[in-house]
């Protein structure tokens, strides 16, 4: 169980490094890495275990280590090489995707896979083997990382690729930062001629319309759906199917501006309640007045709508939020998704953002990668221990029943037994874990700590 959080140097009672969900809260010492050669020397004289961390955008405890030493990597953000003919970029692991875009977009290149925020590091994107709206055609982020360097606590430096140290390469992609510290990695960028995305938003009513739109959009690069989880009856599982492709009409490739809005304070606990979230969901659905809307949209609001407001997680107040994301394989995807959405509606708990996405079948090189073919649903809820924890526990059990699994980067609740059933290869993976590294997530799901 979490140890009580001690006041930090600022005296505010919050830990200096938080995950995005702000739950759980753990104290850890911080030892930033600035140079490739810093690890493992930086641990000299440090007792206990360590974990390299990036921007703290994972929601639960994969980026936390209670009582240990966190090694922030964001100062290791140098570009080490770029082949302008092929788009192969080599960069230090602490660079953010936002920094990569600032460099790449004006040169006519783009990320091969974009998550929902650009404020994550290259190392974090690999360690969580993140996915995006193009999973069904491009696979995970790790599919586009041909090589990386891993430094182990014994001081050895290993280049990892499909041919060099292939087992360590497979363990590191989706390896939650536990196999060593990633110092640099290569990323295959893809060419673009415009910042624009040819966007089409289509209203759907019910899971079958969603599945129909999904199969019709197989050939399109980006697809994702927002779904209203507060409505029942005839509006049950209504949503907007959002598809897009990079515009092929050449347009100026300028650098993005910096976000100007900052969520200024922790909202009070009552700000997000069923009424306000239902109102938001209804507004969101009807914001699109017509059943079908097309537009040429800039990539920033298309991929990273929430990045426009820094610290938007403060909307959830001091207690934070819990994310829940499963993938259920096609065999049970329809019944599982309907059952979960019914369970959520029945609970009376309102999810502000609910995202449905069909994953494709391109395999990841990662041993512990989350995505697999099927339907993925992501929900987020304000933390209300009595109610939201009970719902989460029911949803996790249902996910297991339908043959699915949960996403470690968004989890703070799954049990050791559930994790080990979701990822039966975990013991094979554990052979590649660096003995000096650990995370509160790993301690929890291996039963090392209850």
């Amino acid at each position: 169980m979490p140890s009580p959080v001690e006041p930090n140097s600022a005296g505010t009672g919050t830990p200096e490094f938080e995950s995005w969900g702000r739950y759980p809260e753990y104290n850890a010492a911080l030892k930033p890495l600035h140079w490739e050669g810093d690890f493992p020397g930086v641990l000299a004289g440090v007792a206990g275990e360590a974990l390299a961390v990036g921007m703290g955008r994972s929601y639960g405890d994969v980026c936390l280590l209670d009582g240990g030493t966190l090694l922030p990597t964001t100062a290791m953000n140098r570009l080490l090489g770029f082949d302008a003919a092929t788009g192969l970029l080599t960069a230090e692991a602490g660079i953010t995707l936002a920094q990569i875009l600032d460099f790449a977009v004006p040169r006519g290149w783009f990320l091969p896979v974009s998550p929902g925020t650009k404020y994550v590091t290259l190392g974090g994107a690999i360690a969580n083997d993140i996915h995006g709206k193009n999973h069904h055609v491009a696979g995970t982020f790790g599919c586009h990382v041909p090589a990386l360097e891993l430094v182990r606590s014994d001081g050895s430096r290993r280049i990892c690729s499909a041919t060099e140290n292939p087992e360590l390469y497979a363990a590191t992609i989706g390896g939650l930062g536990l196999t060593g510290v990633i110092t640099w990695a290569q990323l295959r960028l893809k060419p673009i001629v415009s910042r624009g995305i040819d966007y089409e938003g289509i209203q759907f009513h019910g899971i079958d319309e969603f599945l129909d739109l999904t199969s019709k959009a197989q050939h399109l690069e980006y697809t994702v759906s927002w779904v209203d989880v507060t409505s029942t009856g005839k509006n049950f599982c209504r949503g907007i199917f959002m598809q897009g492709e990079h515009s092929q009409t050449p347009a100026p490739l300028t650098v993005s501006g910096k976000p100007k809005l900052v969520f200024p304070f922790d909202a009070p606990g009552f700000a997000l309640n069923r009424a306000s979230v239902s109102a938001f969901n209804t507004l969101f659905f009807h914001k699109q007045m017509k059943p079908r809307v097309t537009a040429l949209q800039d990539y920033e609001p298309y991929f990273y709508p929430l990045d426009a407001v820094l610290h938007w997680n403060r909307m959830y107040g001091r207690r934070g939020l819990l994310q829940f994301q499963y993938v259920i394989p096609w065999e049970h995807a329809r019944e599982g998704t309907v059952a979960v959405l019914q369970e959520v509606a029945k609970s009376g708990l309102a999810s502000f953002l609910a995202v449905l996405k069909a994953f494709g079948d391109q395999p990841s090189p990662g041993m512990m990668s989350f995505p697999k073919p099927g339907i993925s649903l992501a929900l987020d809820f304000p933390i209300k221990p009595e109610k939201s924890f009970a719902l989460f526990d029911r949803l996790a059990a249902m996910t297991l029943e339908f043959g699915g699994r949960l996403y470690p980067a968004k989890d703070a609740r799954m049990t050791a037994a559930q994790f080990q059933a979701f990822y039966p290869q975990w013991q094979q993976f554990a052979q590649y874990k660096d003995p000096a590294l650990n995370s509160s997530f790993w301690q929890r799901v291996t039963g090392e700590r209850a």
Partner: protein, 253 residues
């Protein structure tokens, strides 16, 4: 590379001493993106290579390096001449090496290396470069000092003394050679969040190094005599300097 090409601006030849310091590196990135040529000097070869690689990828027209300890003043003339030769001249010299020292160690043994690096070794490089630019009647010599040199405070007066000496040296030099066509700049940053300061109390609230670097690069373009970054430190230090010593000696600054 086309996007990084400078617009209506002649690429510069820039010498950076102490190129792996957080502030110098942030400036190097901006110069590199503008397509300038860079000669980078720092002690640690591995770190220097990482900074140089980054500059090359971002669009620097040319990048040269020398991994050497600038405390060795006897080596300065050959090193600086080599830098000038390799780039075919120097338009801007940015002197950014320095050490913070241990504030809680009050011994001379701890003070001497801080004074040597920040003042003696800096003076050696500054005076060589002053001659180089004066002979050519052109060039910008930008020297990174600190607001800590504006008034002695109990928390960091050895570092402050080294920077006070450096500021005075650079100010006086400007008085001598500005009329020869050489821009001599005293740059005084307030506390900035970098590797050098991260262990200091309250470092989370220090200025962002990228913003400070952008301000320094803009000031160097203009050749401003004395630059405080962020600009509010000009006001803060005016207030700090105005406090009577009778009162100041009892404050915990």
């Amino acid at each position: 590379m086309s996007a990084a090409a400078p617009q209506e601006r002649q690429p510069k030849k820039i010498l950076v001493l102490g190129a792996t310091s957080g502030m110098a590196e942030a400036c190097v990135r901006l110069w590199a993106a503008r397509g300038d040529s860079l000669f980078l000097v720092a002690r640690n070869a591995e770190r220097l290579n990482a900074v140089a690689a980054d500059a090359g990828v971002r669009g620097a027209a040319w990048v040269g390096t020398a991994a050497t300890d600038l405390d060795d003043t006897a080596a300065h003339p050959a090193l600086l001449a080599h830098a000038a030769d390799s780039m075919g001249g120097i338009d801007i010299a940015f002197l950014a090496f320095g050490v913070l020292g241990a504030a809680e160690d009050h011994s001379f043994a701890a003070a001497a290396p801080v004074l040597h690096t920040n003042l003696v070794a800096a003076a050696s490089a500054v005076l060589w470069l002053a001659d180089y630019f004066t002979q050519r009647h052109t060039g910008t010599l930008a020297v990174l000092s600190s607001v800590a040199g504006d008034r002695g405070r109990k928390s960091n007066y050895i570092y402050g003394a080294s920077k006070a000496g450096l500021s005075t040296l650079v100010d006086g030099l400007r008085n001598r050679i500005d009329r020869e066509g050489v821009r001599v700049m005293t740059i005084k940053p307030g506390p900035v969040r970098t590797a050098m300061t991260e262990s200091m109390k309250g470092s989370a609230r220090f200025a962002d190094v990228e913003k400070v670097a952008a301000a320094m690069v803009a000031a160097i373009d203009k050749g401003t005599d004395v630059v405080y970054v962020p600009g509010m430190w000009r006001v803060i230090m005016a207030v700090v300097r105005a406090i009577p010593e009778r009162l100041f000696k009892r404050l915990n600054l």
